[in-house]
């Protein structure tokens, strides 16, 4: 059972890898057929690998199995539609070199391209996130629903709409060079940020689920940061910031325990602890700024808004920095959807008693005016 740790997430990761590569080869409009084929290949692997032992190269084994499934499915489909030039034949010509010569770079490019395709401007942000979770992270609809606190029906609807859009992609545009996709970078940033936030700030009680979402964000952000398509070193810095923020997050229970303690202790921080905590805070502000700059696409507003991020950092909030804690970061998917509903914005109030907009409301307003945020601030919705 020593190998169980090593193969952790193997199926899920390979799902994203295989779907990305095969979809690029046959075209994104066949995305559903590709997903089905990969699912079948994984099922076949499950049976074969448990009966015999793990093959020498599980990745190649899976690729071949998924490829064969895909060829069969596409042939069936083209026969049904009576199309002479079908995708299966095109794929058949290209497959020989494909199996033998697949480089790590190519796979990474395929996955990044898929991430950018998921972030197509014509797909709503929430659907982009769901699509990325489904295709690149290999979560099922019920698993996504559980993680995003919504119904399975809702996830189905979002996926359906996103896939309709993918099907409309013209055949000629199937494998655009990554450089051409660069304009979508802000959207990609926003999706990664949402992914991270859903894990980091979510009220989900299950620690493992929250960690998983953070890990996926870190994985994809690292992938992006290491590639030339990302505009600057900021992406990689942000990926590292994500990773360190995630490793600091001790999980829901610890956070909650601390916040109770912090609530009792108030804002008083005494003695030598004060310096230590302040140092920590400074470090976290730096990280927060990185992450926030990342989400805003290149640091244009990072400095101005980094204070807002501290508020959202449970580590800081729980240590009793009450001054900051009054306005949590108002930028998670749930909040965008709920608007003035039951999110923290509504709880903290979008206006202070004197009628000024709260810091939270101002931050959202700023994000919206910069076009970085799909929603409208809570205060704007009320009017």
């Amino acid at each position: 059972v020593t190998s169980s740790g090593a193969v952790e997430h193997f199926f899920r990761r390979d799902y994203g890898r295989l779907v990305s590569t095969l979809a690029r080869r046959v075209g994104f409009r066949h995305i559903e057929v590709v997903e089905d084929a990969v699912q079948c290949a994984l099922m076949a692997a499950l049976t074969a690998w448990t009966k015999q032992s793990l093959p020498a190269d599980p990745g190649a084994w899976l690729y071949k199995a998924a490829y064969n499934q895909l060829i069969q499915a596409l042939r069936r489909e083209s026969r049904r539609l009576n199309i002479r030039h079908n995708a299966a034949e095109e794929l058949g010509e290209r497959i020989d070199d494909a199996v033998s010569a697949r480089f790590a770079d190519e796979i990474r490019d395929d996955m990044l391209r898929m991430l950018f395709v998921c972030c197509d401007e014509s797909i709503p942000r929430e659907s982009q996130l769901v699509l990325a979770l489904k295709i690149l992270c290999g979560f099922s609809t019920s698993e996504i629903a559980l993680r995003l606190f919504t119904s399975e029906g809702n996830i189905h609807k979002r996926l359906g709409r996103a896939r309709v859009r993918l099907r409309e992609i013209a055949p000629g545009l199937d494998a655009p060079p990554l450089d051409e996709l660069r304009p979508r970078l802000p959207g990609v940033h926003a999706v990664l940020y949402l992914l991270f936030n859903e894990g980091y700030l979510s009220a989900h009680s299950e620690q493992a689920i929250r960690r998983e979402l953070c890990d996926e964000a870190v994985r994809l952000a690292t992938l992006l940061g290491e590639h030339r398509v990302s505009d600057n070193a900021g992406d990689l810095r942000a990926a590292r910031a994500y990773a360190s923020a995630r490793s600091q997050a001790g999980g829901a229970r610890r956070w909650r325990g601390r916040s109770v303690a912090a609530g009792r202790a108030g804002s008083v921080v005494v003695g030598s602890r004060r310096n230590r905590d302040r140092n920590r805070m400074v470090a976290t502000v730096g990280r927060g700024r990185d992450i926030f700059a990342f989400s805003c696409g290149g640091g244009h507003c990072g400095g101005a808004l980094s204070g807002g991020f501290v508020c959202a950092d449970p580590m800081e909030r729980d240590r009793g920095f009450v001054r900051h804690a009054r306005s949590p970061l108002p930028f998670t998917l749930t909040h965008l959807e709920q608007g003035s509903g039951s999110g923290p914005i509504a709880r903290t109030g979008s206006r202070t008693r004197s009628g000024r907009r709260t810091r939270a409301a101002r931050l959202v307003g700023r994000l919206v005016s910069m076009g970085r945020c799909a929603g409208r601030p809570a205060s704007a919705r009320r009017t």
Binding site: V1, F10, F11, Q39, M43, T47, W49, T50, G138, S140
Partner: protein, 121 residues
Amino acid sequence: MDEAKETRMPTQKYMVILRTTPGKQEPPSPAQMQEMYAAFSAWKEKFKANIVDMGGQLKSGGKIVTTSGVTDGPFVETKEIIGGYMVVAADSYDDAVEVATGCPGVMRPGKSLEIREIAGP
């Protein structure tokens, strides 16, 4: 089961027949498959002295052969169909039950196991 039993394969063999209610089930997600793989490997390791033939799932469709000829079957209208099988070696029915029910994915709603001792040496 204690250590002594695990070192040798018991001589008595049992046929385990898995019955399932027909109908489409939602395929497992990659994460679930991961769990299934880990669980299967652990089960296989734990009972390696008992598993004679891991058998497997049976595909849908098939042939029914009688003296009057060959027909397609089993029919989907039937309430339960045989969905899988395996052969285990055990010293008693109790042990056979333990091995069979330990198999991941078997003890689910809509599924049942029939365990029968195989006659003869």
